[in-house]
């Protein structure tokens, strides 16, 4: 029997190195897609129907990674930290605000700057809604992840 035939697949060091390489490749691909979307949508101003496939792929892959993290209970520590410390609550609010600013800048670059007071109010309202939903979804994900982590311990 040739000993080397199956070792490559059973050796934990090789398996872990393979996983690391694949994971790094995946992250590169994800960032590549993000850069592609930014270039096409913001810089080149391509219409949505010509970029929806890339956007869908990016959102699908991001959603998959996030859901896997949530279901694995990986955000449990973060949830406990936010519950326990003011600094972490503040950092959650700041990250929400930052995401909201990015969202608004993206919108302004894509749709142009507001001309009337009504449009300014509309943008402000959408910014507030975005920040609230962003923080709400983030908090809910962490809470769910925390619950999943404890379910696994209890079982």
């Amino acid at each position: 029997m040739n000993h080397y035939e199956h070792y490559e697949w059973e050796d934990e060091r090789i398996k872990s190195a393979n996983n690391k390489i694949h994971s790094e490749g995946f992250v590169l691909l994800l960032y590549g897609l993000l850069i592609l979307i930014i270039i096409r949508v913001i810089i080149l101003g391509h219409p949505f129907h010509s970029t929806w496939d890339i956007i869908l792929l990016f959102l699908g892959a991001s959603l998959y990674v996030t859901l896997r993290h949530v279901l694995s209970g990986n955000f449990s520590e973060e949830y406990e930290a936010i519950q326990a410390s003011f600094r972490h609550k503040l950092s959650m609010v700041f990250s929400g605000l930052l995401a909201g600013i990015f969202f608004t800048v993206f919108r302004l670059l894509r749709e142009g700057f507001p001309g009337t007071a009504g449009e300014v109010i509309e943008i402000l309202v959408s910014l507030i809604v975005f920040v609230v939903v962003f923080m709400g979804v983030g908090w809910l994900m962490r809470k769910l992840s925390h619950r999943k982590a404890y379910q696994e311990i209890d079982n």
Partner: protein, 69 residues
Amino acid sequence: MNKRKKLKLARVEQDLTQEELANRVKVTRQTIGLIEAGKYNPSLKLCLAICKTLSKTLDDIFWEEDEKK
């Protein structure tokens, strides 16, 4: 004595080469070489497999005494 020397010593005591030990615990020779060189930390599963193969306990091979003591 650190764990890399302990592993090498235990392997030599059993008159095994790196490749023979690797074959018995189903890893590559490089993995055994890297453990002995202190460049790879094996999982508990692999530590147990190595200990069983070399008829040693985990303490015998993988326990490291505090250097300050």
